[in-house]
Point group: C2
Chain length 161, copies 2
């Protein structure tokens, strides 16, 4: 087995990316929430001026996982950061370093791009991932809660109703 | 008093934006963490291909607050979203609707851009803001923790050390 490699995804990977997205959703016990398809993946990740970016992890030229990230902004530092939206390695390929290879690759992009930080979210019951992330030097940002408006409430807010 | 107005920030607003950033940091009890300046604000928010965007709230043509947002990505939905990094209204101008006007404006951008969601983070002790956000239809995303790597640990990760 050669060491895991990371490459940029291309539009031809859209079906593969959808496969990984579904795998991740099952793992996170959120399979019912997946509401995307190949066409939407192609349009959003590979259209004009994309704002989110996908990497594919491979072992012996076989795709084993993926990561999707975008740039966020630290007002305090006046610098961009990178936010990792998703990271997934197929269960049968875990423990071979592909997840770490993806994280290392993105950390490299962050450093090269003069980003001040690299962040992601973790489900609080996901102890194996939390231990893995802490082993890489990540720390939990205590004291912050994320709020979300979507669907009908987003329309209402946009209309100031 | 006329109703609050929202306009896009310009490079000439960099000093004003820095003033608001410092005001927000004092409010969030994080004043020591501000490490930006006018030049960095100009470069990151008004340079080539900016990834974060600033709006100014005004009452009677006087700037009273600001918001900074960027686009994130919902893998489940195959859609972009908007993340509000910062929202601040000067203490002497609170209660006049400027904060809500900024949120409504950004929600409008989200809807027009076919974004699936509009999100932001709140310090968990900030009850007035939480009540305000919940009144607008936002809900807390339970069960997720944010992890961050920065500084020396980010360099180490990038170098796979």
């Amino acid at each position: 087995m050669s060491s895991p490699q990371v490459r940029e995804a291309t539009p031809e990977d859209s079906a593969l990316i959808l496969h990984f997205i579904n795998g991740l959703a099952v793992y996170e016990k959120l399979a019912d929430e997946v509401d995307t398809n190949e066409a939407m993946i192609t349009e959003t990740l590979f259209g004009d001026n994309p704002k989110a970016f996908c990497l594919i992890g491979e072992i012996d030229n076989e795709p084993v996982g993926f990561a999707i990230y975008f740039y966020n902004y630290s007002t305090w530092k006046g610098k961009y950061g990178i936010y990792l939206e998703d990271l997934f390695v197929s269960p049968e390929h875990r423990g071979k370093g592909a997840g770490k290879a993806l994280l290392v690759h993105i950390a490299g992009i962050a450093v090269k791009s003069n980003c001040g930080r690299f962040e992601w979210s973790v489900l609080d019951w996901n102890t194996p991932s939390i231990e893995f992330y802490e082993s890489l030097g990540a720390r939990a940002m205590e004291g912050w809660d994320i709020y979300r408006v979507d669907g009908e409430n987003l329309e209402k807010l946009a209309n100031n109703e």
